[in-house]
């Protein structure tokens, strides 16, 4: 099979810190948490939990009011991230003719327009209204983000959304990668966005007893992956986008190449809805290495799924120890969710950006707040303080409820 190399030529995000990807990565390396205490005015009982918001994001300013008013917040975050990645790739917003007929979009979202539907239910059930705006359907549909991205950037190829819980955007990126590698698409816009602050969604997560507790003082330290005293995950909103481009096309137009995506593997535990299984994760990890043509000894860093739940963290480390064998103890691992939280369907995308930047900067971001390692999570080189180190290739893990696993492999590019 004729395989094209796939360059990453654009990175964009709506950062909880408010800045660009470089600022985002610097703050991760500084161990700076974006987690804050969220207190809403919802009835009958306000949401009160550690959460990651993007308070500086103003959709009207970022997108203009006419465009912003056609979108739910998940699509607004996605569109803004995609525009940022597109501009970073040095591509024109508008193009005449049909040169983009083979360019497409693959987007990840776990919740899609849930917030828009919830707004509709409030109108009907709380405010006693009998009807909804004619925009309700197009605001709520799960493919709203990719549809807007394709329209705004004139992409005539495939436009699709992937909903696979916490693996949504890793699967979107992987599927986009395959389209470019096979030559079907010259450029794919990919990534993910989600807004888990919908009242019903946040309450549902609470009921699962996997959310970390915390108040205004303790919230920044609430998410402690691999730590003996970890108490669970922290939900967050956000959007993150990558531009994947045919290598020759990128070189021909003189694009700046941040890194190379070289492998994608996926699997299903096929055992339990929420209890992860190391064997399923091992298959996804090995599939990814095979797909990339890499040996486990080529991998210098793993951005872990690492959500800080009691069950999940030790299983992931067990899977890594199986795949990396005797060398696992030298494998640098960190869970950046300790700082940017769990973005559900956007988690894979924001962590892919962290991984690509780690390779580009040859700098490892840490797991924050990891002072006392849980012995059940021992056996790898846990990065607790950022450090400079030669990095050749890295993996990013996403292991979802439902047992769906996705792993992405990236390689550093000599600058």
């Amino acid at each position: 099979m004729n395989r094209r190399r796939v360059a990453i030529t654009g990175l964009g995000l709506v950062s909880p810190y408010g800045g660009d990807p470089a600022d985002f990565f610097q703050r991760l390396c500084a161990g700076e948490s974006a987690v804050r205490h969220l207190l809403t005015d919802d009835a009958p009982r306000p949401l009160s939990m550690p959460f990651v918001s993007c308070p500086d994001f103003d959709p009207d300013t970022a997108l203009g009011k006419p465009l912003a008013s056609m979108m739910d917040r998940f699509a607004q975050l996605g569109m803004a991230a995609a525009f940022a990645a597109w501009d970073d790739a040095g591509l024109a917003r508008h193009e005449e003719g049909n040169t983009r007929d083979r360019w497409g979009c693959a987007w990840g979202t776990a919740l899609g327009g849930t917030l828009a539907y919830e707004k509709g239910y409030r109108e009907l059930w709380q405010k006693g209204r009998e009807r909804l705006s004619p925009l309700a359907v197009v605001l709520g549909m799960n493919n709203a983000a990719n549809a807007h991205i394709s329209i705004q950037l004139g992409l005539g190829g495939v436009s699709m959304s992937h909903t696979v819980a916490c693996a949504s955007s890793s699967i979107a990126i992987g599927e986009a990668f395959r389209r470019v590698r096979s030559g079907e698409a010259t450029i794919m816009v990919t990534g993910g966005s989600d807004v888990p602050q919908a009242y019903g969604v946040a309450r549902a997560w609470e009921a699962l007893r996997v959310l970390a507790p915390g108040d205004a003082d303790s919230a920044p330290r609430a998410c402690r992956p691999f730590s003996a005293d970890r108490r669970g995950l922290v939900l967050g909103e956000g959007g993150a986008a990558l531009i994947l481009e045919d290598w020759d096309h990128a070189v021909a137009r003189g694009a700046h190449i941040h890194g190379e995506i070289v492998g994608y593997g996926s699997s299903c535990d096929h055992s339990h809805l929420v209890k992860p299984d190391a064997a399923g994760q091992v298959r996804a990890l090995r599939d990814t290495l095979d797909d990339a043509g890499l040996d486990s000894s080529d991998i210098d860093y793993v951005n872990a799924h690492g959500t800080a739940t009691a069950e999940g963290d030790p299983v992931e480390i067990a899977a890594l120890k199986t795949v990396f064998g005797d060398a696992a103890g030298r494998l640098a691992v960190s869970a950046t969710k300790s700082m940017h939280g769990h973005l559900l369907g956007a988690a894979g995308a924001i962590e892919a950006i962290a991984t690509v930047l780690a390779l580009r900067e040859q700098h490892l971001p840490p797991t924050a707040h990891l002072t006392e390692l849980d012995p059940a999570c021992a056996g790898v080189d846990h990065v607790t303080v950022a450090r400079q180190q030669p990095l050749r290739a890295a993996l990013s893990n996403s292991f979802a409820f439902g047992g769906s696993n996705a792993v992405l492999a990236f390689r550093a590019v000599a600058s």
Binding site: G64, K65, P66, S69, R131, S133, P134, L135, V138
Partner: protein, 79 residues
């Protein structure tokens, strides 16, 4: 607010349209109103004036035709 005032405010909000361009002779399509936005406009009229529009309503072409249609329906449903 009268009918043309509602249209002006809506189009300024949604499209950034200059209120002075929203005159009776202007084509709604030229102002940027597509079929989806037409549905939204009708929804706004229903909400604001407490009227119910029939589902087989003929789509007006100009701002003036829309105003005339709405004025007539508002008068009818009030009487």
């Amino acid at each position: 607010m009268d009918c043309i005032g509602l249209i002006r405010e809506f189009l300024k909000d949604r499209l950034g349209a200059d209120p002075e361009a929203v005159v009776p002779g202007a084509l709604l399509a030229d102002l940027g109103v597509d079929s989806l936005m037409m549905l939204e406009l009708m929804f706004e009229f229903e909400d604001h004036f407490g009227i119910k529009l029939a589902s087989d309503l003929k789509t007006p072409g100009t701002v003036g035709e829309l105003v005339e249609l709405m004025d007539r329906l508002i008068a009818q449903q009030k009487s």
